[in-house]
Amino acid sequence: MTPTLLFALAILFLPLLSFVFQIFVGNRIGRAAHWFSLAALGITLSLALSFLANIFITPGYALLDVNTVWFSSGSFTVELGIYIDNIAAVMLVVVSLISFLVHIYSTEYMRGDPRYTRYFGYLGLFTFSMNGIVLANSLLMMYVFWELVGPSSYLLIGFWFEKQTAASAGMKAFLTNRVGDIGMFIGILLLFMQLGTFNIQAIAEQVEFGAFDGTGILLTVAGIMVFMGAIGKSAQFPLHIWLPDAMEGPTPVSALIHAATMVAAGVYMTVRIFAFLTPAALEFVAVIGGITALMAAIIAITQVDIKRVLAYSTVSQLGYMVMALGVGAFQAGFFHLTTHAMFKACLFLASGSVIHSMHHALHKIDDHSTDPQDMRNMGGLRKKMPITYISMVVASLSISGIPFFTGFLSKDAILAGTLAYYNLHHGWTIFLPISGFGAAIITAFYMFRLIFMTFHGESARQDIHEHLHETPGAMTTPLIILSVLSLAFVFTIPSTVNPFNSRGWFTTAIQTGENFAGLDMEVVGEALHHAHEPAMMISLTVAALGILAALLFYLFRVVNVEKLTKRINKLGLYNLSFHKFYIDEIYDAILYRPFFWYTRVVAKFDWELYDQKFIDWWGWVTLKLSDWSGYSDYNWLDQKVVDGFGKATRYFGKELRLSQSGVIQNYILGGVIGILSIFILFQAF
């Protein structure tokens, strides 16, 4: 076993070990048990970093590519294997880093929770599942870990299961994801039947050598099917509905799930299968991403719950990443995944810091009815919580795409990608840049709306405000680290410090990607290059416009927001956004209710009609038949036929008795007649 393999296995299994430890031992140790998890994740992170360091030494190689038979029946073999290239190395660092920081943060955030140690166990299980997805070299193995993310997210989202909303949210996440997973499974089956392998590299290779030539749209269908898994996991329209509900989990969990792990898994998987997605499949991917990015951004504008804003922002940003892959901006998509993980984790953890502080303040004034997450109860927090404030501003600038921050680099590249795609294809594809730039202006607006509502202005509730204070070091340290990682130079040094240039170690490590299914990456690259500058100009303008609008609306209050809202709402537009386009309500009306009604009909049919009436009818028929045969047996056969013989005998006996007269002449006469009759009868024949 090489050290690399050993390290990779350690990265995979250390978090699982943490899970096992916390479940079986943690409870007995109590609070100190978190040191075990912290140590496990710390080692995982350092090992992942050592892999990342490797990309500076030998870029472009697969660091590790091993395979072993999991089980086999002869012709049918399933292999397990690990494949680490630069993409996986970066992803491992992203996952372990965020997970590690969330662990640290949670030691304060979850302090005093009755299931404190179990919480850390679940975090470990989650990290294990996620690292498995990253390391997997085959689609089936990826699917295995993909499915394992299900229960771990179920446990974390529903961690406070006494709350009905939390319990339902966990279930909703699991089931919604399963819808996508079915598609993914079918896609995997299609590829396996055609190629006889689950191995991602082997599939790409066979596609390159024309394994799907002459099969029509089969590869497109297979690609879209596999991508359906990503629609579920990465909360793309129309399966995005689970993500906002998942905010019911503890806030650090939201940071983990919605920044670096679960939702990123879908994008990561799409990155992995990018090489064999046909242009038609990619078109589908782009459209899904475009719809998601714009729709979620519009919803985010009107939300008042600080975590809901971030939730829809996440959906929107995931739409960006997916759209980027769809338009062929492979590098940009993965880049945005990385940068987004940092600034979104920062945003979630900062919001958690605010909620934590609000929660404690409310607790102090003995107020249990006020929602600690409602931004309308906040305001002016800037002075009370400076570290939280600054890190949130940094992350907001980053997500809004302002130069010197990471979001600018990655988002700008995506926008260039959409513009390039339009330049190449024209027509309806104008939708993609519109969605991209439209979502960009909205993003800048709602992020600064959040900042201004929460941290600026007058405090909405002075009584709460007095008790607010900055959160402890275990919570602020991750914020500081993540906000530093949201600065552009982190990704570009030592190549450049020019804030408008994304060239750096990241772009060296992650190349532009290959496609063997018909997409000419050179053409795409050329178009990207040309679209770069105009895209940058527009994106800077829209970001500035968005922030400016937020300034006017929420900081300087030049515009009366309420009046404007009312005016807009004349067309129902405000409500449309506030109620998330009524998608949950629509699903409830056209899917859930009819479905459950249908199952009840099925069950009624199965038991009350089919079994009780039809099946038991046979029993009834049999009973009737036996009744009838019993009746006829006695009343006819016995009483009439059998007893009839008896009766007849008795009758004849009675009648014939008369002939026994005792007169001898009569007997002789009878005898003579008898003999004569016999004689005549014989004569006749």
Binding site: W70, F71, S72, S73, G74, S75, F76, T77, L140, Y143, V144, F145, E147, L148, G150, P151, Y154, G158, F161, E162, K163, Q164, A166, A167, S168, G170, M171, F174, L175, R178, V179, D181, I182, F185, I186, L189, F192, M193, G196, F596, Y598, T599, R600, V602, A603, K604, D606, W607, Y610, D611, I615, G619
Partner: protein, 534 residues
């Protein structure tokens, strides 16, 4: 000893039952037939010891079995010579997992029945008799012997449901008995037909593989091979149960005492699919080709119909019962893949089907045991109280809620069992379900795609019921509920370990069964070629 090991395996429980009957006279102080505390303890321990011994033997069998070594531990004696009926026992990769499963679930069934109060002697002796009959079915390689054991099962089962069952026990027992008997009649006809058509007349299932291929005749214009296949198929289908012959199952499962539900769902259902693989497949391979699509279709119907019904149930045990219908559908889908032209596909399907038989046995046993545990605590097992519940204040209301806080260990095991039931990776059900799908997909694409809906549907009812019972606010406080005790853990933990072990390392099972099943595939495909189909 090894040459009689199967006889030993089969008749150990019967010997235990006999010992109980004899011992009862000596131990009961006043000589009457009522159970005293002393005799009850005696019977329980006899049952534990004898099923434990059988379990030990079956594990010994497993360990010493040589994969790919053909039929092993054979016992071959003439029995009724004038009709060429033999006492022929043997084990291969198809029967071995089911033998271990039978021994395991019988043992666990005995342990889980510790609190039985009504006529302890009768209960445990019937349970042991049932054990003997089930083991006999899986070990027999003579059709007549197989049939004898098959019928022998009915008797103890009838009484176990009819005496120790729930409120509707008599109705359930009679329904179960008659329904199964209908299947037996068809099987008997098919068996006699096979006997008289083979030359020389034989019931030997191995010999029949060769001589059966020569059967050619028509009966009222219908191919006799097809008639035999259909008769056998219906006979086995009732046991599986294949929709539409399934409605005895929810009733019998719900009314039966816990241990009997465990054995019913864990072992008896497998006899249907076992019979198909043991008798229909090798004896009438050409018919397998004709009916493969129908078997796959029935499998998919089972998956969907069972799951849809399960979603609508408000009685937890009934939900689990319908989940069995759904899960047995995977077995059928996998079995149908024997006709797949892709070697990987047919192997995945058939091996997956056999693994699913075993895995469903362990998973559903866990589910029924867990339902039984909560039932013993609160004396009902509703998710929601029915609308016509005896207490009108509770009617239609949520029956539990928030139990996870109160019973952490119990809810943890339920979560494990539910996740296993919905086919989560790293738990055994996933591997076998995935293999059945892969097999099915390699030949029946559209059907399998419809079948994959089961992945979602199964998750819906498991997660919904879990939420209603264990999560959310506590809606109905049950004072002083105790978490699982040591005896209950003893029944659940071994199954949990098996479920995880086979999920992580399926080779434990696959390596044992695959040589046998692969040669069955070859046999079916070659014979079908010979007989003239395909």
């Amino acid at each position: 000893m090894s040459s009689h090991i199967l006889s030993l395996l089969i008749f150990i429980p019967a010997a235990g039952a006999l010992l109980m009957l004899i011992g009862h006279r000596f131990i009961s102080s006043n000589g009457n037939s009522e159970d005293s505390g002393k005799t009850a303890v005696f019977h329980k321990w006899i049952a534990v010891i004898f099923t434990g011994l059988q379990l030990f033997l079956s594990i010994w069998l497993w360990v010493n079995y040589v994969p790919g070594g053909g039929i092993q531990y054979q016992e071959h004696h003439a029995w009724i010579q004038s009709f060429n009926i033999e006492y022929f026992l043997g084990v291969d990769g198809l029967s071995l997992p089911l033998i271990v499963l039978t021994a395991l679930l019988s043992f666990i069934g005995v342990v889980s029945s510790w609190n039985i109060k009504k006529s302890v002697l009768g209960y445990f002796s019937l349970l042991l008799l049932l054990d003997t009959a089930m083991m006999g079915v899986f070990c027999s390689l003579d059709f007549f012997l197989f049939y004898v054991f098959w019928e022998l099962m009915l008797l103890p089962m009838y009484f176990l449901i009819g005496i120790w069952g729930g409120p509707q026990r008599m109705y359930a027992a009679i329904k179960f008995f008659l329904y199964t008997l209908l299947g037996s009649v068809l099987m008997l006809l098919a068996m006699l037909a096979l006997y008289f058509y083979t030359e020389p007349h034989t019931f030997n299932l191995i010999a029949m593989i060769q001589s059966g291929a020569a059967i050619r005749d028509t009966f009222w214009g219908m191919d006799i091979r097809m008639l035999i296949f259909v008769a056998l198929f219906i006979g086995f289908a009732i046991k599986v149960p294949i929709v539409p012959f399934h409605t005895w199952l929810p009733l019998a499962h719900v009314e039966a005492p816990t241990a009997v539900s465990v054995i019913l769902a864990g072992v008896l259902l497998k006899m249907g699919t076992y019979g198909l693989l043991r008798i229909n497949y090798p004896l009438l391979p050409d018919q397998v080709y004709i009916f493969a699509w129908s078997i796959a279709l029935l499998g998919v119907i089972n998956i969907i119909w069972g799951a849809l019904n399960a979603i609508a149930q408000i009685d937890l045990k009934k939900m689990v019962a319908y989940s069995s219908v759904s899960h047995m559908g995977y077995v059928l889908l996998g079995m149908a893949a024997v006709v797949s032209t892709s070697a990987a596909g047919s192997q995945a399907g058939i091996n997956g089907a056999v693994m699913q038989m075993f895995n469903h046995g362990t998973i559903t046993a866990m589910l029924f045991l867990l339902v039984g545990i909560i039932y013993e605590k609160v004396h009902h097992r509703y998710i929601f109280f029915p609308k016509d519940y005896k207490d009108p204040a509770l009617a239609g209301k949520l029956a539990f809620g928030g139990l996870a806080g109160q019973l952490p260990v119990y809810s943890g095991f339920v979560a494990l069992a539910f996740f296993a039931g919905l086919g989560l990776p790293a738990l055994s059900g996933f591997i076998s379900e995935a293999m059945c799908f892969i097999g099915g997909f390699s030949i029946f694409r559209t059907l399998t795609i419809i079948g994959t809906l089961g992945i979602l549907l199964n998750a819906i009812y498991f997660l919904r019921s879990y939420m209603h019972i264990f999560l959310g606010p506590v809606s109905n406080a049950y004072e002083g509920l105790k978490d699982m005790n040591g005896r209950e853990l003893l029944t659940i933990v071994p199954l949990a370990i098996i479920v995880i072990a086979l999920g992580v390392y399926p080779r434990l099972m696959l390596d044992v069964i695959s040589p046998t099943m692969n040669s069955l595939i070859k046999l079916v495909q070659d014979m079908a070629l010979m007989v003239g189909i395909n």
